[in-house]
């Protein structure tokens, strides 16, 4: 949950990047970091395995400026995507305010996307949150791979498989190149802030 400090006039919100392993969650954060270095005072915190996979989470705090006189600090987290790290994913979701689901557009990853989205729903439920109510944005990542003739799922297929019931905003993206990474971020921040804003005096 967001923490509003009425004394310091500061709001902290937590946005989590979720999705299947090797889908590009960490790459999203790395792109954001390299693009907004002047506004980010710290380094990315990354807890990785030796093979460079996310073990616990990545963390990037981000100053958003002021809304209604409050300093807004957005805390971006990723979860480890590998199936075996479910306990860790559940932990990172504690107190989450908004979620970006990074889906892998590769045809071969169709099943992993569906599995991971279902896992998100289950883990949110543990924290008494509904996937239908929490601010959520879908990102169909790796669209750039089409140029390398790697078979990709069409956006229609992705929409049908992942978003037919949720009906949340989605972006076609490439985290490596940076396409729509910032749009995805702006969208989730504006949706998350809309749900926090009415609590600000």
């Amino acid at each position: 949950m967001s923490f509003i400090n009425f004394k310091k006039k500061e709001v902290q919100v937590k946005v989590v990047y979720y999705g299947p392993g090797r889908g590009g969650k960490t790459t999203n954060l790395e792109y954001i970091y390299s693009n907004f270095k002047d506004r980010i005072k710290t380094e990315i915190v990354a807890i990785k395995t030796q093979g460079d996979r996310t073990l616990f989470f990545d963390f990037l705090p981000f100053d958003m400026g002021k809304i209604k006189g409050y300093d807004v600090k957005v805390q971006l987290y990723t979860v480890p995507g590998q199936v075996k790290y479910d306990a860790t994913r559940e932990l990172v979701l504690r107190g989450v305010d908004g979620v970006v689901f990074v889906a892998d557009s590769m045809e071969a990853r169709r099943q992993q996307n569906l599995q991971s989205l279902k896992n998100l729903q289950e883990n949110l439920a543990i924290h008494k949150k509904s996937i239908f109510k929490i601010p959520l944005v879908l990102q169909y990542n790796k669209r750039d791979l089409a140029e390398q003739d790697i078979p990709l799922l069409s956006v229609e297929t992705l929409e049908k498989g992942l978003n037919s019931k949720l009906k949340v905003p989605f972006f076609e993206a490439s985290a490596v190149v940076g396409t729509n990474v910032v749009h995805t971020l702006k969208k989730i921040i504006s949706m998350t802030m809309a749900s926090v804003e009415n609590q600000l005096k």
Partner: protein, 130 residues
Amino acid sequence: MDYNLGHEQLTEIEEVLQEDLMGMGVHCVIFIDMAGNIVVNLDDGAIKHDVYSLAALAAGNFGAVSAMAQMIGEEDFSLLFHKGEKESIHFSKVLADFLLIIIFGHEISLGLLRLKVAESIEKIEKILKS
């Protein structure tokens, strides 16, 4: 974990931490929630730690250790202590949703710190419940 802290409660918590803990010479006190948000942050002015990252890692660390506790049949480990050569970190749980983190140097005795922490937590819990 849903909570709301008013201006007055925050001021009171800050006073307790300032008097009881900063007053004994610790370097930094961070009071956070289990989501990793900073509720109160005090330091002696001499150190500049990245407290937001520290808070995120501390909440994650505590969560991981709690999961380990449950695996061996404990509900929780209520305190953690990491000893460094010059600086050490002491974590203690406050009610179900908060964590008190203290960074201190080797000149402070751990026994005295624990005593002071226990006293402060008692006061803070009263404030949180009020």
